[in-house]
């Protein structure tokens, strides 16, 4: 692996000149430019970004810290961030926390050692955010992704959970449903709360009284979706529609229907807040609130890089990205169901 010194020697110029032709920082005569380029080619020289980083105190590396890349919600986010970063010549170091605050701390420490220019962070909830505060205090920009961190002020790109849920429930109402059950996430989670809020808002706006019996608290996991969906059916609470607050629970609910011989949408309408099938919404027949994960990643990265480069200054920016409601067969009301076969073909929309 050759160095700038060897290139300089081979081209018979000073290392400053080599640096200048590489970075275009100063005028260099065409002749020397040619000699330098030739030397670079012949030596297969790649400038040492590490040495450069040491000198100029920026690495053009961004940390991307999230719970679990295996959760289908995140790859889109990463892709959005990475593409945006790549365009501006930044790279991403990604790391998974598995929602463990201890691991998150270790990762953030490492990223600080690596002197990343900034960090995109979907933080594990509930822990002491001291590590985040000290990171910010040390001058490393941080943008929160998907999850705000209480009592820490920084830029953030979040989902409009209230709006998404509200729109979805409004759709259910428009389809003629008045008794709409909801399976929420764990209500100590911020976004679960917001989704429930959206549900209530939609009902209020339609002057439908809120029946607490229709509100079932799940935990975002399969089993709770399965169990609570059965409850919805068997307790005969006369719900004509069910709104499930994430994808995994929806799978549980679907299987519950299956086991009980309940058919959707014939017997009951179903809509889901979609965490899971995001990549292939088209393969599903479910009406869903889909999260614009690519866009979220892209926006967050843009904000972060703008902060780093100083083109964005001042108070923290909080962006709420709106999800889109994708209406599909699962919420066709029984009467409309008569011509249901005609819309049965489900081709994938082009996904970017």
């Amino acid at each position: 692996m050759s160095t700038i010194v060897e290139v300089a020697r081979r081209a018979s110029v000073s290392i400053a000149t080599v640096s200048n032709v590489i970075r275009g920082t100063k005028q260099v005569s065409l002749e020397l430019q040619e000699r330098v380029r030739a030397a670079i080619r012949e030596l297969d020289y790649y400038p040492n970004a590490i040495a450069r980083g040491l000198k100029v105190k920026q690495t053009r590396m961004l940390g991307m810290v999230l719970p679990d890349i295996t959760n289908p919600f995140f790859p889109g986010i990463i892709r959005g961030a990475e593409d945006t970063a790549f365009e501006r010549d930044y790279f991403l170091i990604t790391a998974n926390t598995d929602e463990q605050i201890a691991r998150e701390r270790r990762i953030v420490s490492a990223l600080r050692s690596y002197r990343v220019d900034g960090i995109l962070l979907a933080s594990a909830p509930g822990g002491d955010p001291a590590h985040i505060r000290s990171t910010i205090a040390s001058g490393v920009s941080v943008v929160f992704l998907d999850r705000p961190v209480p009592a820490v002020s920084a830029d953030a790109v979040l989902l409009d959970n209230v709006g998404g849920a509200r729109e979805c429930v409004r759709h259910l109402i428009q389809c003629g449903n008045r008794r709409i059950a909801i399976i929420t996430g764990p209500l100590k989670a911020q976004n679960a709360l917001e989704r429930l809020q959206g549900y209530k808002k939609a009902l209020n706006e339609a002057d439908i009284a809120i029946d607490p019996a229709l509100i079932l608290e799940g935990d975002y996991r399969y089993e709770s979706g399965n169990r609570l969906a059965k409850q919805v059916i068997q307790s005969r609470m006369k719900a004509t529609a069910l709104f499930v607050c994430n994808g995994v629970m929806t799978f549980g609910a679907l299987n519950a229907f299956d086991e009980l011989g309940v058919h959707c949408p014939k017997d009951i309408s179903l809509a889901t807040f979609d965490d899971l099938t995001l990549d292939h919404p088209s393969y599903s027949h479910l009406t869903a609130v889909v999260q614009p994960s690519y866009e979220m990643g892209a926006r967050a990265a843009t904000i972060l890089m703008d902060r780093i480069e100083g083109s964005l200054i001042g108070d923290p920016v909080i962006v709420r990205v709106a999800p889109t409601l994708v209406v599909r067969e699962s919420t066709h009301s029984p009467k409309r169901l008569l011509d249901h076969r005609r819309s049965g073909s489900r081709k994938p929309s082009s996904s970017r």
Copy 2:
């Protein structure tokens, strides 16, 4: 952001001593150790890994280059690699090529500038691999992931496509099928070829003649799966089973069945080489060859780090990881279907 000099000053020791207590490279008296640690704490000091990297010529960063993290096959791989790397104190820089060789080249260049210690590479097929060769020649270890690169010799972790397809088709045969259609990938792709090979092998072993009419070449995309599945049904080639060589095409096939009113497995058995539903195999009722992506990533990372650290030397290692056949309802033969309802519940298996 403080430096080792400031820490040394505050603890009234030399920078060498600070370095020694941080890295444990030399004995330091307990008293000085204490003073140094206190100073580190008070200054919120994080050793500069960039400066260190410059000096010791290793960064403990690994490049991870793959086509598209959004393809559900890859997150598992990344996770496997990252976890393994993290345990040994390495970090991953991930980047997507979108199968574009030009982008791959740009990424590899950047990684070389960053002086990553090694690269995990799922290379875009078909391009001139000169950039890979020169990378290896420069002393950066490369491990191929999922895809070998022709005419370049390096460690590789690949899937046993032949074995996977063979086992799956053998299963179909055991279920009583003798006319088994196959929708392959584009036969210029290595893995598509291998899967076809496995198909043929299984038929041969069962003394079933290979009928070219049953072999349909797709391109791994939705549309081809849809079109060719229709062909299988409509041309009345009397196939009793269909083996589709990746997940996306399988979705196409499923919708084709749907449109034509064909029921699986009552009318035809279906098995798939699973690229797509890997994350939630349990949500599907399809018999599938599932790829152990986590393991592939982990193995590849281990090999790479072993190479870097010199504990693995000698000729390239080629690991073929065996996929597992997961038998589900879609290949139950009609007679066995009679008691099908009993196995209808599909709960997710714990995914790691």
